[in-house]
Symmetry: C2
Subunit: 731 residues, 2 copies
């Protein structure tokens, strides 16, 4: 966790603006205009050698010339002058800087070099730097507005409990506008731009601790700081606050070239999903969701369960909302008989008192109907949330009464309340939101947001009972919970014993398995028959039928070359096969790389799975576990897991496979030893951590999950280690 505080960047007492303009509409004039407009109580020091006064304030020729200490300097000058100014700031004891100027890494290598100088200054001096190429900060608590965002040029500030933290200034501005439209608002508005020093994660880590902040809204284009985000996720869990993120570039076409099966299968975005999931950060689909979800997630109370009551003025709309609830895993509450009786007493006979409750046009006749009906639903012990869904409330309806009654019911009850109001004027949504009631014009959006919030609430409630806040998501591997684990010997020493590799870094199947055996992942029972040996020289007894495979690191994909022979019934046939395989392999592989023929017991039956390790450009190693065979690729049935991996988390991931029911015996087959598969995931996770950078990729495929109690059989294994050449090819 970062030791370098953002206190002076986000909550400064004195702000200097280098390059300050007298024109309050210019980029370099806006910070002072905004500081004055919003009533910043600290010192403001315009810096401009060509002026003595700027926007009515005394102007100073240089940062050194200011009469008091400077907590934060805003730098609004051409890129070429930035580095010198930063050095001046360091000399003057400035604690933090915001660089508006563009012309850095966004322009490619030339600008990149200049930006690295900024990073160096920040790292060496301890002065925190936001930007360059950023819109800056608005910090509501201190009224500090060192930003040129045009969002603050006009209109009222929309204050609320959200913290917008975005790599893009334009996106931050859109979010600010969307929050305002929804009747909520901000405590912080931070655009981090090129992130030479301060990242989105750094800002999140700070603002999530602010008692005035109830929800953090993040926008990310690059995951530059995964460790920081993981820390932010952990602190958010401790603070019991949600972080919502929108990460763009979901379907990125550029992907790191990978030669393993696992690498080719799992997309980068799967690892991103898993990363956020693991760290309790909620990923949303688009900007509209981010703003709408923040209303729902910014509430003080959490969902106690999934049971939803729908109240509507249209039977048709009620049915549609019920459909959407069911599709997203919410349950339709069964109302208690008292509740139904109470509703019947207040509704006409042609209305529906069952869930979904249809008040029909009675709301026209009795404008205060909701003041009685909604509390009745919220008090029903079988109801966790009430979705009020309205539409076509035209002339004659008392909109003020409806809004007031909903806001009051929301204030006075523990169940959740949310409103979808089709075709309503934006001001209705805004007023509901300002009254604390999550609302949108689109009922589907409200249902999505509620469903996500219920998941989040129940997940937090589950993990609240754990000793460690992080263990629920498996951030800590705990050997005690995983039966059958053994300790791993010194990795470097083990690896050294497996040289030489191919240039590409591949180990043969035999050596891959031997390495995993030595690392304690599983016990190898395969026998290697060397080219010059007889089968009977093997160190262990063979149980026929067996499988024979030529073994050479130069031929990682043996089946493609006809170098695998199945179902060999006896020793005599094996002798023949071994000779043939060695001859064939020596035709293909470079001289001296054919280690011999690997002979293993033929395994029949079992559930076919695979397990692998791939390299992710952001997260490093990702363990992937999935259903095997032809269905791997067709149905994309796999789960990503980021090490370290606890047994409980691995088991959750195995159970999350779509094919998991096929391992439970529920479909008529044997119950498979899926717990052994989960243990294998843990073991592989430990190997990944111990081998570290030395490991490039791993495929265990197929892994047969045998009947309950019989464990797993790793039928093939392929490990690729880091060599100079293999590393170059991967980058």
């Amino acid at each position: 966790m970062t030791q370098r505080s953002l206190e002076k960047l986000l909550r400064p007492s004195s702000i200097a603006v280098v390059g300050a303009s007298d024109d309050p509409t210019k980029v370099s004039g806006r910070p002072i205009a905004y500081l004055k407009r919003y009533g910043f109580a600290g010192k403001i020091y315009p810096i401009n050698p060509r002026r003595t006064e700027v926007q009515g304030l005394t102007c100073y020729p240089s940062i050194e010339a200011t009469p008091g200490a400077v907590d934060l300097a805003v730098i609004a000058i051409p890129a070429t002058a930035v580095v010198q100014t930063l050095n001046d700031c360091v000399d003057a004891g400035v604690r933090s800087c915001i660089i508006f100027s563009s012309g850095f890494s966004e322009l490619g290598e030339e600008g990149g070099a200049l930006q690295r100088e900024i990073t160096g200054i920040a790292r060496r001096s301890g002065m925190r730097v936001l930007g360059p190429n950023c819109q800056g900060v608005f910090s509501v608590g201190t009224k500090a507005a060192p930003t040129f965002a045009s969002a603050f040029a006009q209109g009222d500030l929309t204050v609320g409990s959200g913290a917008i933290v975005s790599q893009s200034g334009a996106v931050a501005a859109m979010l600010y506008q969307l929050l305002g439209n929804a009747g909520s608002g901000i405590q912080y508005y931070v655009a981090t731009g090129n992130e030479s020093d301060v990242t989105v994660a750094d800002v999140m880590l700070d603002v999530v601790r602010d008692p005035e902040v109830s929800v953090v809204l993040g926008y990310l284009e690059d995951l530059k700081d995964p460790d920081g985000l993981a820390d932010a996720g952990q602190v958010a869990r401790q603070e019991d606050k949600p972080i919502l993120v929108l990460k763009s570039g979901r379907t990125a076409e550029g992907k790191v070239a990978a030669s393993s099966h696992t690498g080719a299968l799992a997309g980068d975005d799967d690892a991103v999903d898993e990363f956020f999931h693991k760290h309790g950060i909620v990923r949303v689909g688009d900007l509209i969701e981010l703003a709408a979800f923040s209303q729902m997630f910014g509430q003080k109370r959490r969902a106690a369960g999934r049971r939803v009551a729908v109240i509507t003025n249209s039977g048709g709309l009620g049915v549609m909302v019920v459909d959407q609830c069911k599709a997203l895993g919410l349950e339709i509450a069964v109302l208690q008989s008292d509740t139904i009786a109470g509703l019947k007493a207040m509704l006409p006979t042609f209305a529906s008192a069952a869930n979904p409750v249809d008040v029909t046009t009675q709301l026209l006749v009795e404008p205060r109907l909701l003041s009685r009906a909604v509390p009745l639903l919220m008090e029903d012990p079988g109801v966790d949330a009430v979705l009020a869904s309205f539409g076509a409330l035209g002339g004659g309806y008392d909109i003020d009464a409806i809004i007031g009654d909903l806001a009051q019911a929301n204030d006075e009850h523990d169940a959740l309340l949310a409103v979808g109001w089709v075709g309503s004027h934006q001001s209705i949504i805004q007023r509901l939101g300002a009254g604390g009631v999550p609302a949108a014009q689109n009922p589907s959006l409200v249902v999505r947001s509620l469903a996500a919030y219920v998941d989040f609430s129940l997940d937090r409630a589950d993990s609240a009972g754990d000793d460690s806040a992080t263990s629920a998501r498996g951030a800590v591997a705990n050997a005690a919970t995983a039966p059958g684990l053994v300790s791993i010997p010194d990795a470097a020493a083990v690896i050294a014993a497996y040289q030489p590799l191919t240039d590409d870094g591949f180990l043969s199947e035999y050596n891959s398995k031997r390495l995993l055996d030595q690392l304690g992942v599983f016990q190898m029972s395969d026998v290697l028959v060397a080219p010059t040996s007889a089968v009977t020289d093997g160190p262990a007894q063979l149980t026929f039928p067996v499988v024979a495979k030529a073994s050479s690191p130069a031929i990682p994909h043996k089946s493609d070359h006809g170098l695998v022979v199945l179902n060999i019934a006896d020793e005599q046939r094996l002798e023949t096969v071994v000779k043939e395989l060695i001859a064939r392999a020596e035709d293909i592989a470079p001289m001296g790389t054919v280690e011999g023929v690997l002979v293993q017991k033929m395994v029949k039956g079992g559930f076919e799975a695979f397990l692998g390790v791939k390299q992710d450009p952001t997260f490093g190693h990702v363990v992937v576990v999935g259903a095997g065979g032809v269905f791997i690729e067709i149905f994309s049935d796999y789960q990503c897991v980021l090490p370290p991996i606890s047994y409980g988390y691995a088991l959750d991931k195995v159970k999350a496979l779509k094919a998991f029911p096929a391992m439970t015996g529920a479909r008529g087959g044997d119950e498979a030893d899926y717990e052994a598969l989960a243990r294998l995931v843990v073991e592989v996770g430990r190997v990944v951590e111990h081998l570290g950078d030395a490991l490039l990729e791993m495929d265990l495929n197929p892994v047969k999950v045998l009947p309950k109690g019989q464990g797993v059989a790793v039928l093939d294994a392929l490990i690729r280690l880091r060599t100079d050449e293999s590393a170059a090819r991967m980058s």
Copy 2:
């Protein structure tokens, strides 16, 4: 197709209002108020025995007393008086009625009986009846407003080219409001209520032919009239207009009980999806989509392809829109070098001239930038659609110029244009919509709508080349296109030969296969060894190894009872197995139902599929084809097909299976004879049509799809015919 015209209902020249009130705000007063307000040019006859004048018009004591012919009578009186009034209308030669009154089938059986009387009157007299329990009609062309919808009480009429046809009045009103908010509007507004006579489909069939209508928006809670909807879909195709529908009740919990595998697997909603798909009707997900899609689909021009150019003022937003496009199957256009050069010339150096095009804040500096940039993109021959995505355009931007430039570009170019404008005021969306540019505040919604429109356009373009407008979707089974089909003998005669069945209507596997053999579906090679025969009595030679199964209609699921023995190597072993199976079966099955032991060649390999027929409460028989084995249920990999089924359509469905790549040999296995599977689907479709109601359910499972050219092998078959008892259990 219906012969009974809706002309006088939807475009009347004279309207009587039975029960007319002098109070223009009452339900019974509104039709006359609206007719006057909107300037209906025809005759208006208030009918009320207690008044001589209503809202300034001469009032008549009865429908017979009107001085001229009545095209349409609106009935706004208590339910108990409705039938008599309808009879009076018939006697008076009234051509159509709209019944506002409630108190009919929505109240259960008592009201249902009353409603059936209405239906009877309509059927016998030929007078068309809309309702009861309906909001009525607004027909813009004739200014006929026989409705009490409060949507028309205030404000301007929002005229456009949409036709809203809804079973629910409240939903119709919401749609009307949403269209108005989006700057589009209506030609027709029809709420059909309880549909005693006129259905949504009837209305669609009429309005889709109106030259002023470019898109039909339907809302359905019940599919009462599937044949009518199919007709409407066909006419819409001929008219080259889209019908969009929202069908609620997607996740209905109530389902017809079914005992076949197929019945249990495929949900009712799958059949609904397939029904709309087959008839070229576009199903949308929610109300907001329905309104937004109608803007996109209401355009005159269609999409020529999938290639999208994105232009934005925010790089972040551009990336997000590109993500969404890719996720929905749109392609990111590669701009021609001329286009890029042109953009570069008009943009600052830090802007992006590649796709997505980021104009940055240049739009602030040069307000008319889009008048040049957007046409440049629309003229690029590699661009089929331009998505303009804006956000955070606050003070200083010339919104009028932006809207005008977009509308003009849209008018003057053939490529599609659509706008997503985050956080914009509703009036901006409204103005863009009124200018013919599909627009929404949510860019994701715009991308969804564009993607659906591209699919629709390309699909229509594909089918335009066909001789028959319906053949592309397989509405006509064409034996000539399906090699290897044979004609089917008289179904009733065939069925008679298979009596007796069990009470449940099950045939034994042997008789199921024999029936399919006789119907020409496939040639059965199985041999039935009767309880008293020896194996050598069999009529055909056996090729070992074989499979033996006890055959009795009383035991439809043989494996569950250990009545299947695989891999029998020779005749001697077979003799033993046959005796054992017969003994075991006779222990389980009722006396006299064990037909013997079915012996069939053991089939190894092949892709495992299944094929079945289920009963749908709305559509009758649904053919279901899918991937077999344990993965059937886990991955739900199946497709529904509604008979009649053409070979081309069946092949499309087989290719739409997720597991289809496993049949192409692409994944390393043999190429399977999936064309034979498609032929089997066609054959089963023909059997379904010939057997008609006699067939309750069918399971062919597993069906082995053998290597290319070797056809399919139906390993097991189960047919269930309609008996008194089986029919009762299904209903």
